[in-house]
């Protein structure tokens, strides 16, 4: 994707690779906590369950900009977490790639949790119980029985989360800003090109976005089919 070397030319390959890398990082980041939270929510009758359910669903229902604002207040240099991180380790989250990963992770989290939770709820509760009687501890039973049986739902949730992270804009632009080469994802780059009036570049980016989105849908379909094949044997 070579372009005329104008000083302000957009580096398409960098933007695409960055977008993919950030979405992947966000998905990986939420995988373990998401599955854990999903499993907890699939158990009934514990105090605080409704509260956790609500908190987890918030990023899904809130406008992404509200999520972004909340995150900025938290991890900006003048925020409690961001301030501490900067004072102690010299690490910046806001306006860096870490902010992009964080914003994507937060908005994608509820999608993973929902899918994984349904998957866990569909597991026959007698199965992990039997695994316990056969000598597995609670964690052993989880890994040997519940996790494999819920895997399809978890994977579907992860792909959904990845797709959401790919297209995330509102929270990202508030937490990480639109800094070319540093925090500019495909969605943000598109926005900037429109802002500065470069419609042709904007359209190119939009087409790339379509390709990426279609690509992730195809991958998820392939994953689902492969799983169906192995189960049907």
């Amino acid at each position: 994707m070579r372009r005329s070397r104008r000083a302000d030319a957009i580096d398409l390959s960098q933007i695409v690779l960055f977008t993919l890398a950030v979405a992947a990082a966000a998905t990986v980041l939420i995988l373990v906590p998401g599955v854990a939270v999903a499993w907890c929510l699939s158990r009934r009758g514990w105090r605080g369950r409704m509260l956790v359910e609500t908190l987890v669903s918030l990023p899904l229902v809130l406008p992404p900009t509200a999520v972004g604002l909340g995150l900025l207040l938290l991890v900006g240099r003048s925020g409690p977490v961001g301030g501490w991180l900067y004072e102690t380790f010299g690490i910046d989250i806001a306006f860096t790639w870490r902010g992009v990963v964080l914003a994507s992770a937060v908005v994608a989290f509820p999608l993973l949790v929902r899918s994984a939770r349904s998957a866990f709820e569909e597991v026959d509760p007698r199965l992990p119980a039997v695994a316990r009687t056969l000598g597995r501890g609670p964690l052993g039973a989880f890994f040997a029985v519940e996790l494999p049986l819920a895997w399809r739902g978890i994977t579907a949730g992860a792909v959904l989360a990845f797709a959401r992270a790919l297209g995330e804009f509102g929270a990202t632009i508030l937490v990480a800003g639109n800094i070319p080469g540093q925090t500019q994802t495909l969605a943000l780059a598109l926005f900037q090109q429109v802002q500065v009036g470069r419609d042709r570049e904007a359209l190119e980016l939009a087409l790339l976005a379509v390709l990426l989105a279609a690509g992730s849908v195809i991958v998820s379909e392939l994953l689902v089919r492969r799983r169906e094949k192995t189960l049907a044997e």
């Binding site: 026959d124 007698r126 199965l127 119980a129 039997v130 695994a131 316990r132 009687t133 056969l134 000598g135 597995r136 501890g137 609670p138 052993g140 039973a141 040997a144 029985v145 494999p148 049986l149 044997e233």
Partner: protein, 356 residues
């Protein structure tokens, strides 16, 4: 001497309450109607449900709330076989079977090959649970529990949903396993025949409470039990050995444990010389004060009246191991009294094979 099972449990869940106190021997059955709390009790013993109280099995304390002891399920070493098996759908039969096996194996472990042969699972090893029939699944579940070297087997309704032929095969299999592997057994069932077939002690459970516990016959034949079950058939279950099949005559000849010869309906799938468990209803037995002649009934067994139990408008005569259901009129007419020698008469077709 301490009993094998010492159960002292209390559990409350919503509107359901369970309170069980019992001392039972190595083979025991929990008998009761559905909703009595049998499965709940089983789960509590397995440690899958938290109940208050004390459970001691074979001298080992599994839980003692007063002492703050609660062994989690994975430490109780109980082979739990739920209704219809609960096999792991994502694992092959082989992987299901070996799931609970201890590594490294110790002396006294059931050998994999032997067990597969004993339960007739060779063909199924590489298949997946969704391709198995109900009976096959149960066999695999039984094998899986046994391979984990449990200190006892907990069976939940082992023949639920099986047709009579498969049910008796299943019971015969469980009896064989019980005797060969020598593993204690706690069976949950709503069928008295099953309890009698598998266990020597019985716990009667109804609405979360104990109605009676102790040796099976004693509990089931207690007047209170008989009174409650008026309108139900009382079964007599007895062991026998197959002598010979008579295809033309439509019968199979067996010899009861007591030595008496009895004919049952022709059942060609039973092996000659093999062990079989028979059942006949108390309602289907006739009493004669003299040896009967000129009757179509092929079976007559000698005995003497031990006891006459009056329950409502019925009389139950206890003749050795047999319970006979009579009308008071018949008792008066025959002048039956305890100690009298009598003949028990039964039709061939009244006999059922319970396990075999």
């Amino acid at each position: 001497m301490a009993s094998f099972f010492e159960i002292d449990l209390k559990l409350h869940q919503g509107s359901f309450g369970l309170e069980v106190q019992a001392r039972l021997g190595e083979t025991a059955a929990v008998l009761g109607p559905s909703g009595a709390g049998k499965t709940t009790l089983l789960e509590a013993i397995a440690g899958l449900r938290r109940a208050e109280g004390r459970v001691v099995v074979g001298g080992e304390i599994l839980q003692d709330s007063a002492a703050g002891v609660f062994l989690p399920p994975e430490r109780r070493r109980l082979g739990y076989v739920p209704q219809d098996g609960a096999l792991f759908p994502h694992l092959s039969v082989r992987s299901n079977l070996t799931f609970g096996q201890r590594r490294p194996s110790a002396a006294g472990d059931v050998d994999f090959a032997t067990l597969v042969l004993a339960l007739d699972l060779q063909e199924l090893l590489e298949r997946y649970p969704r391709h198995l029939s109900g009976g096959e699944r149960r066999r695999v579940a039984l094998g899986r529990a046994l391979l984990a070297r449990p200190r006892l087997l907990l069976l939940d309704e082992p023949t639920a949903g099986l047709d009579p032929l498969r049910a008796r095969k299943a019971l015969a299999r469980i009896r064989r396993v019980r005797d060969e592997v020598n593993v204690p057994l706690l069976v949950v069932t709503h069928q008295p025949e099953e309890a009698l077939a598998l266990a020597s002690d019985v716990l009667l459970l109804e609405a979360g409470g104990v109605r009676g516990s102790g040796p099976a016959r004693q509990v089931l034949r207690a007047p209170s039990a008989l009174a409650r079950e008026s309108g139900q058939h009382q079964e007599n279950v007895i062991s026998a050995r197959v002598v010979r099949h008579h295809a033309d005559g439509g019968t199979t000849e067996v010899r009861l444990d007591g030595g008496e010869a009895v004919t049952i309906p022709h059942t060609p799938d039973l092996t000659e010389g093999g062990e079989v468990l028979l059942s006949i209803d108390a309602e289907d037995l006739l009493l004669a004060t003299a040896r009967p002649v000129g009757l179509s009934a092929r079976n007559a067994v000698a005995g003497s009246v031990d006891e006459l139990i009056r329950v409502g408008t019925s009389v139950y005569a206890s003749v050795g191991p047999w319970l006979v259901h009579l009308t008071p009129a018949a008792v008066d007419e025959l002048g039956l009294l305890p100690g009298m020698p009598v003949w028990l008469v039964a039709k061939t077709h009244s006999w059922r094979v319970v396990a075999g």
